[in-house]
Amino acid sequence: MSTLTVDGLTVGYGDGAPVLDGLDLEVPDGAVVALLGANGAGKTTLLRAVAGLVPARGGRVLLDGADLGGLRAEDRVRRGLGLVPEGRGVVAELTVAENLRLGALWRHRGSARTAAVDAQYELFEPLARRRDALGHTLSGGERQMLALARALVAEPRVLLLDEPSLGLAPLVVADLLGVLRRTAERTGLTVLVAEQNVTSALSVADRGVVLSLGDVVTDRPARDLAADPALRHAYLGF
């Protein structure tokens, strides 16, 4: 559907050394790319900078060739860039239905909004049963489901996910990543998913990109990374 290009992106916190220094990355139209790397490698920083939550010191972020620089996070969302943040960001004080409606607000009007929300209930059965429950009463798996559904309801062109498997049971992870993969295949959605759960991420991704100390150290087909013990050992430490 759309291509995300990161070109020479430099990001840092305060006046410390940059966490990302001139990082280049391309996520082509319709690809599912796994963003791998140890804790502190800069995965979250990269996703937040692309989303506009952390200011960049230099470089560009392009969506289908259009520079997103200078746009605030809320306006990047309206250009078709979705982010499911680390820790999921379900609004605890709002119900499942309100969280979903909020995600759909800017994208759909009137009855189309209701239809879009209902389509997510069909995709995520358990949410339909808990539609009037407050966010803070949901289980970890339900929260992640809600966060994903809430991002998808806005029909993004490019979806960024930050460690969706964090704290979830393996079966739940497989379920969620399966939905993600099928949605990407059905709609042509472009996905960049940061994960520490390397095996799960590579099982649904086309490509694996490994970050280390704020730079891309390798970028290969997911199958090769998952299958080649030498590569795994060199870049992923197992």
Binding site: A73, V91, E98
Partner: protein, 292 residues
């Protein structure tokens, strides 16, 4: 018995105004996590504007409308101006700037309109109806109760049932997540301040005819009592502000009626202390949810 009925009825009317003003503090608190200490000074400016329009047009209603609009504009100006510039990671800078704003506004009003009380006539009679020999509410008290009740109901419905209300709540509870869902959070905060000050201006307008009249400090007492009401109700809770407002209104009326008026502030303070000892988050706090 007669006296009790009269005092409770009068207390409810005053309590409705308190609840309305407390509501305005709750709205800003929810939007921004700040207590606006300049709320009374900003609201009193709007009341001056309202009475100026009433004086020119001869219509109290037109003046009231102008006052509410002026309150909204002042809210936007305060938030976009000084409040946005102060750091928000600790409460102190905001409080200091607000107090500075209070001094400027009140001194400015005193210079422009003089330091005397200007009597403000009520738009309806303040003579109580007599029911079965007992004087109860006046027509003006009834107007106050109805207007305050309608406005609070409209606010509650607006916040819980409309898309705009959903965005206002999301922006207040989880600003970053709201931005990721395309909510224009900074606009929502400004809007929260506008709603808040329009509400505060209305409360001030309803109050002045029942007291000494208009004066740069005319709403200071209202702010102090409403602040206590908001804290007793739980700061985060519109329903808490309503119930605590009525409770404090009746308490003040009973203490003033049976003891002396001077004891009323002490009674409010005692109630506040008691509530904070038993339930530190206020009677209707929602602190549990955020912690989860």
């Amino acid at each position: 018995m007669d006296r009790l009925v009269f005092l409770v009825a009068a207390g409810l009317a005053h309590g409705a105004v308190l609840a309305l003003f407390a509501q305005s503090l709750v709205i800003v608190w929810r939007a921004n996590r700040v207590i606006n200490f300049a709320q009374a000074a900003l609201a009193v400016v709007a009341v001056y504007a309202a009475l100026a329009v009433t004086a020119v047009s001869g219509s109290w209603w037109l003046g009231a409308f102008a006052g509410v609009v002026a309150g909204g504009l002042l809210g936007a100006a305060a938030e976009r101006g000084p409040m946005r510039l102060v750091p928000t990671h600790t409460p102190l800078p905001g409080i200091i700037v607000a107090i500075g704003l209070v001094m400027i506004l009140q001194a400015g009003l005193a210079i422009a309109f003089g330091p005397e009380y200007q009597p403000v006539p009520a738009p309806l009679s303040e003579r109580p109806f007599v029911l079965a020999g007992i004087p109860v509410l006046s027509p003006y008290d009834l107007l106050v109760l109805v207007v305050a009740g309608l406005v609070m109901a409209a606010l509650a419905l607006g916040f819980t049932r409309t898309s705009l209300g959903l965005q206002l709540r999301a922006a207040a509870f989880a600003p970053e997540t709201a931005r990721l869902l395309g909510v224009r959070v900074s606009r929502m905060i400004t809007l929260g301040w506008m709603l808040s000050l329009a509400t505060a201006a209305l409360a001030g307008l309803l109050l002045v005819p029942t007291e000494l009249g208009l004066h740069p400090h005319a709403l200071d007492g209202l702010f102090v009592q409403a602040f206590a009401v908001a804290v007793i109700g739980g700061l985060d809770s519109p329903a808490g502000a309503l119930l605590a407002g009525l409770l404090v209104g009746v308490l003040v009326s009973l203490v003033s009626g049976y003891l002396v008026a001077a004891a009323a502030p002490l009674a409010v303070l005692a109630l506040l202390t008691l509530v904070l000892l038993v339930r530190p988050g206020g009677l209707f706090s929602a602190a549990k949810e955020r912690a989860a």
